[in-house]
Amino acid sequence: MDLHAKRQADGVFARTDTVLHGQVVDADDLPVSEVYVFAYLDSRMVGKPVHMSVPTGGDGQFEMFLSDGGAYYIGARSAFGGPLEPGEWVGTFDGEPDHKVIVKQGTNEDLGTIVVKEFW
């Protein structure tokens, strides 16, 4: 069983020592609640993510616990799975044009803000 599969088996929200954290905000820099942050291995960010956060709270803060270091493509939206629907918040980590972040094993890295917008 590879690390990501083991992670799924252990529970996607289980704490690990490799962490991405940050804040989900809207275009006015206001925190957005009830948004999940996802990590994909695939640059197209399709299919199932390998990791996800719990939904953000009122402060928009998130933590995502990863099974391993490496390259991840980061997105955020209100729902997990299914087609995007009107009224959903959606956005990507835009620190890099391809939404990629390189994470070192055993570190807690700050992604800064992920800006989401409502899709209608």
Partner: protein, 396 residues
């Protein structure tokens, strides 16, 4: 006697409650507050007596069994609202006020009866999904922050005689939904009164009234509803037909709007049998060109029809380009057999079918528009033949 099975919970004062699973028939009366979720199990009935006041803090009332509530008030802080999961027509919520929730009532499937409710100050008043049926009758959707009534996901819920007022974004939004009946509703002072969007949203919207909205009705992204017998008065824009949408617009009274009907981006509606009266501009075309559609339309939509990534903003339900392609591209928008008012009729009598009516803005007024550095001809409206008498029987 069913009543004998009820557990009477008469509380004279506010009573904090812990997490609660209701697994036998229960009656609530008086004031109660909850700071954790309440779950009504399948086969179980929760009855809420008239005059009850229920307060939720960061919690929700979820009903998998049956809810019978009349004359109660539901409110709270950071609370999620009522969730009806597959409840049948014996779930009836009537004469209640539901306010301040994330979603006042979330209906996942089933066929509940929701009547004479007031939903105010929620993020979403009522959301119906999962092929929900049932009825929403005589409800008031007031000042909800995003959407008064959101119908999704092949739901067929009838919406009759409701009022949508001062909702900040949409009074009602139909997304892949086909209400059995959508009639007799009033939309007043909303940003967008009624939004009908996306391919597969083809309801009949009949005999509703729209007044003083920014946009009374918007038909968007390949939706093809039938709009019949509605009254659109004193809105900034009466009907906005946008992004490859081809509604049938017939038998409507379109009066005293800034723009009566605005057609944009490769939309080819059929506009016939309507009365246009006293609009600043009765019918206007904007970025509307058969030439543009032939040359660029499919490419412009390719992301929406092929991509599957929600993060590209393009993960809507798949729809083929064949579904969305315009079937008839001859540079005209059909708007024959309408009545354009007495003044309009007199003007048409003078200028004839090839003239340029002052109440229609099209390619006769603006020959071209520019997109990505290239000029495209603006379509023209085929306004002939026209009626010389009013066509609708709506009260003026």
């Amino acid at each position: 006697m069913r009543l004998c099975l009820l557990i009477l919970m008469v509380l004279a004062c506010v009573t904090p409650a812990a997490a609660l699973v209701i697994d036998r028939d229960t009656l609530w009366t008086g004031k109660q507050s909850f700071n954790e979720d309440v779950l009504v199990m399948q086969e179980v009935t929760l009855t809420i007596a008239p005059g009850s006041k229920l307060h939720f803090s960061g919690a929700r009332l979820e009903v998998a069994g049956r809810l019978v509530a009349q004359g109660a008030e539901f409110s709270g802080e950071s609370w999620e609202g009522l969730r009806l999961k597959g409840t049948d027509a014996t779930t009836r919520i009537s004469d209640c006020v539901i306010k301040g929730a994330a979603t006042g009532i979330f209906v996942q499937g089933g066929s509940p009866l929701l009547e004479r409710l007031t939903l105010s100050g929620n993020k979403v008043g009522i959301e119906l999904r999962g092929k929900a049926a049932g009825k929403v009758v005589n409800c008031r959707f007031i000042a909800n922050r995003k959407v008064g009534l959101f119908i999704k996901d092949d739901s067929t819920t009838a919406v009759i005689d409701c009022r949508f007022e001062n909702n900040l974004r949409y009074g009602a939004y139909l997304y892949h939904a086909l209400p059995q009946v959508f009639q007799g509703n009033d939309f007043v002072k909303n940003d967008i009164g009624l939004m009908i969007a996306y391919h597969g949203s083809d309801p009949t919207v009949e005999n509703n009234r729209f007044e003083e909205n920014n946009i009374a009705i918007q038909v968007d992204r390949a939706a093809r509803p039938e709009l019949r017998g509605n009254q659109l008065r004193a809105n900034q824009t009466g009907l906005y037909i946008y992004r490859r949408s081809d509604p049938l617009v017939t038998g409507n009274l379109i009066e005293a709007n800034g723009v009566g009907v605005l057609v944009a981006y490769s939309s080819y509606p059929q506009i016939t049998g309507n009365d246009f009266l006293k609009n600043e501009m009765a019918l206007k075309l904007e970025f509307q060109s058969s030439a543009w559609e032939s040359q660029r339309g499919a490419d412009a939509r390719s992301g929406e029809t092929t991509a599957r990534s929600a993060f590209a903003g393009q993960g809507m339900r798949s729809v083929t380009e064949d579904d969305r392609r315009a079937k008839r591209l001859n540079g005209t928008v059909r708007a024959g057999d309408n009545w354009w008012g007495e003044g309009g009729t007199a003007e048409l009598a003078k200028i004839g079918k090839t003239g340029n009516p002052s109440f229609i803005y099209d390619g006769r007024d603006q020959a071209t528009f520019v997109d990505a550095g290239e000029e495209f001809p603006l379509d023209k409206v085929a306004h002939a033949p026209w009626s010389t008498v009013p066509l609708t029987e709506l009260k003026r």
